[in-house]
């Protein structure tokens, strides 16, 4: 899932300083699961923001709340569209994709991010999320015992650990597991450690973000007239 966390209330309050009616829009998908931007968090932010504004003598600013199932799809944004005309700004508690989907859908409406989108990751334990995938567009997990050296090695090394690996921890941070230690441990368990004797050639980054925003196209799903972008 996409993991995000909330911006400071003072930052959000300052972003909306030129507006009188603001709609907070939550997203019911990834950011609900990571407890950053679902219905409950929208309620908390709404309440907090109204109080912060009143303390700045801006109690006349209207801050309303709503949450849609998914901000990154037009079909769900449709449900929001009738309400939007009553406001002069939107603060999205979706990920960066959600914020931009709203901005694209409502060209004349200022849209502000209420969250800092962090990464694609997993729930490690209650309340703790960890980055797992960098979305490089050329997945090679099969070559690395199912553990990504791009995401989980701080130096993105493809050929074994560096000299900074100590007792399974990375030199970058004492709490950070060495990605290559994880890869080697798992390779031993799988009995495939010998596969790591060959030199891995450099990664093909042409599928990554460096070439500008990427697209995935499934032509069989593209029904003429429905592909607006």
């Amino acid at each position: 899932m996409i993991v995000a966390d909330r911006k400071k209330i003072s930052e959000i309050r300052d972003m909306i300083k030129d507006h009188r009616r603001v709609l907070l829009v939550g997203c019911g998908t990834c950011v609900t699961v990571c407890l950053a931007g679902g219905e409950r968090e929208v309620g908390i932010l709404g309440s907090a923001l109204r109080m912060a504004l009143r303390l700045q003598n801006r109690g006349d600013v209207v801050v309303d709340e709503c949450t849609i199932e998914r901000q990154c799809e037009d079909a769900f944004i449709d449900l929001l569209a009738p309400r939007v005309s009553g406001y002069d700004a939107i603060c999205s508690l979706g990920c960066g994709a959600g914020v931009q989907a709203l901005a694209e859908r409502f060209p004349k409406m200022p849209v502000y991010p209420g969250l800092n989108t962090q990464f694609m990751g997993i729930l490690e334990s209650q309340g703790v999320w960890t980055e797992m995938c960098s979305g490089c567009g050329n997945c090679r997990l099969g070559e690395f015992a199912g553990i990504c050296p791009i995401t989980r090695c701080a130096k993105r090394l493809f050929n074994g650990p560096c000299g900074g690996s100590r007792d399974g921890k990375c030199e970058v941070h004492p709490d950070l597991c060495c990605g290559w230690q994880l890869i080697c441990d798992r390779a031993v368990n799988l009995g495939i450690l010998d596969q790591f004797e060959r030199i891995v050639p450099p990664h093909d980054w042409s599928t990554g973000l460096d070439g500008g925003p990427r697209k995935v196209v499934r032509e069989d799903q593209c029904i003429a007239g429905l592909c607006s972008r």
């Binding site: 400071k8 209330i9 003072s10 409950r40 309620g43 908390i44 309440s47 907090a48 109204r50 109080m51 912060a52 009143r54 303390l55």
Partner: protein, 160 residues
């Protein structure tokens, strides 16, 4: 302080609510500024309940749950403590004093302690002054009654 402080106490049904009842039965004197709101467990408490109270102008909030290790639902009071900590951080971000919110642990036999807690919080809030978001006292009472009514509806629903 211009107005008498108003304090909302979120009380667990199994301990603090009974302790408040006992304080009454024991005819203990404590300030009448505390409005008790019964929850099935403090684990039912959400951060937005606390913020809703402050937004409606309540001057202080008490969260009173069972002694640690004594929760009827195993760990509800421990969860509540974490949520209270988060709410206190949010209050600081908003610009309200986090001291207006405090969690206490007590047993149902501690009527005296409930009276002490109520007195402590009223004195503390008197020192801090009224909540700057304070509305007309009647509107605050109405807001508190509305929150209580919703909580009772919720409790009735859970019994069914």
């Amino acid at each position: 302080m211009n107005e008498e402080p108003l304090i909302l106490a979120f009380c667990c049904h199994y301990c603090a609510y009974a302790a408040a009842d006992l304080a009454g039965s024991m005819r203990l004197q404590y300030p009448g500024n505390v409005r008790v709101l019964r929850l099935p467990c403090t684990g039912k408490l959400e951060v937005n309940y606390i913020l809703a109270a402050f937004e409606r102008g309540v001057d202080g909030v008490i969260v009173a749950g069972c002694l640690e290790g004594g929760c009827h639902f195993m760990e509800g009071n421990l969860r509540a403590r974490r949520r209270v900590e988060r709410a206190r951080q949010l209050l600081a971000e908003i610009g309200l004093e986090p001291e207006r919110l405090e969690m206490f642990n007590l047993s149902s036999a501690e009527g005296t302690r409930f009276a002490e807690i109520a007195t402590t919080m009223v004195e503390r809030v008197q020192r801090l002054g009224n909540n700057p978001l304070r509305l007309d006292p009647k509107r605050i009472e109405h807001g508190v009654q509305e929150i209580s009514r919703q909580a009772e509806v919720m409790l009735a629903g859970e019994k069914q």
